[in-house]
């Protein structure tokens, strides 16, 4: 088998690991968009047994955006997507829950990119039959600090 799924080790592109890694592989990727695949698992966050709350689509789009960013920076020294989510402009949930075992495709494209520091991404999640929702999120590339600094300073 060839294609992006086998061509790339996604761990090279984003920092998520362990139980918080919910993307299994890349299905399509180019300069304009990225599509990833995941099998919804009972070990995922927000799982209540056999269903996962569909607000998980925010994390699916965020991790796909992180992979996309890391892939675009793949020729730079630091390749992993380092953006943290600082906002959700809008997320529409079109189904309340996602069944465990669903094969999910998450597509993502960049809507705004300001010097690689501030980004806005749009994405949606589907299993091929059901669209689970749409997310428009905002990310900021920064050194993560737990010291009390605001992520998203208020407008003056």
């Amino acid at each position: 088998m060839t294609g992006p799924w086998r061509m790339y080790n996604i761990d090279d592109f984003f920092p998520h690991r362990g139980r918080m890694k919910i993307i299994d592989g890349i299905v399509e990727i180019d300069d304009d968009h990225c599509v990833t695949e995941s099998i919804a698992a009972s070990l995922w966050p927000l799982c209540s047994g056999v269903q996962i709350n569909s607000i998980i689509i925010v994390e699916l789009v965020a991790q796909t955006a992180s992979i996309f960013t890391g892939w675009k920076k793949r020729n730079e020294t630091k390749t992993k997507g380092e953006g943290v989510i600082v906002g959700i402009k809008k997320a529409v949930l079109t189904a309340p829950e996602i069944p465990v075992g669903s094969r999910l495709r998450t597509s993502c494209r960049i809507r705004v990119n300001l010097d690689g520091q501030y980004g806005e991404f749009e994405g949606e999640v589907t299993d091929g039959h059901i669209q689970y929702g749409f997310v428009h999120l905002q990310t900021l590339n920064q050194q993560i600090s737990l010291s009390g600094r605001e992520n998203f300073p208020s407008k003056k």
């Binding site: 690991r17 362990g18 607000i55 998980i56 993560i144 009390g148």
Partner: protein
């Protein structure tokens, strides 16, 4: 089997608003791989605790609520393990739509805020609260 990633310490319901009080333990699965060497409580974890508070509030009122949309959510502060986390939600009817305004604090620091559009599940249909 259902697994609770964070157990609420206290839930305080009122007629149209509620508070959920949590302590984020260092051994929570939310920190599993998020991120190696730099444990950060994820934004989706914060939304999960907002949802838990909303679910408790709905149960207190004897109704079921479904989140239809989330908007204008800002994550203002990064949190690590062993942080206190308090969710405040307030249900309002705005232009005919049921909206839940929420904000979350850790100690005195505002961590995140935003709006959820919700519907009540009633006889298999969704309606405003």
């Amino acid at each position: 089997m259902s697994e609770k990633w964070i157990i609420p310490e206290k839930f305080v319901p009122h007629e149209n608003d509620a508070e959920g009080h949590f302590m984020i333990p260092g051994n929570s699965p939310w920190f599993s791989g998020h991120f190696p060497g730099m444990p950060v409580f994820p934004a989706i974890g914060m939304l999960g605790l907002v949802y838990d508070t909303l679910k408790e509030y709905a149960a207190h009122r004897g109704i079921r609520l479904t989140i239809m949309e989330m908007k204008r959510i800002r994550f203002r502060q990064v949190l690590g393990p062993e942080s206190p986390f308090t969710v405040f939600i307030s249900l309002k009817n705005v232009n005919g739509a049921s909206q839940v305004f929420f904000h979350c604090v850790s100690g005195d620091t505002k961590v995140c805020d935003g709006i959820l559009l919700v519907k009540r599940e009633h006889d298999g249909a969704l309606e405003n609260v």
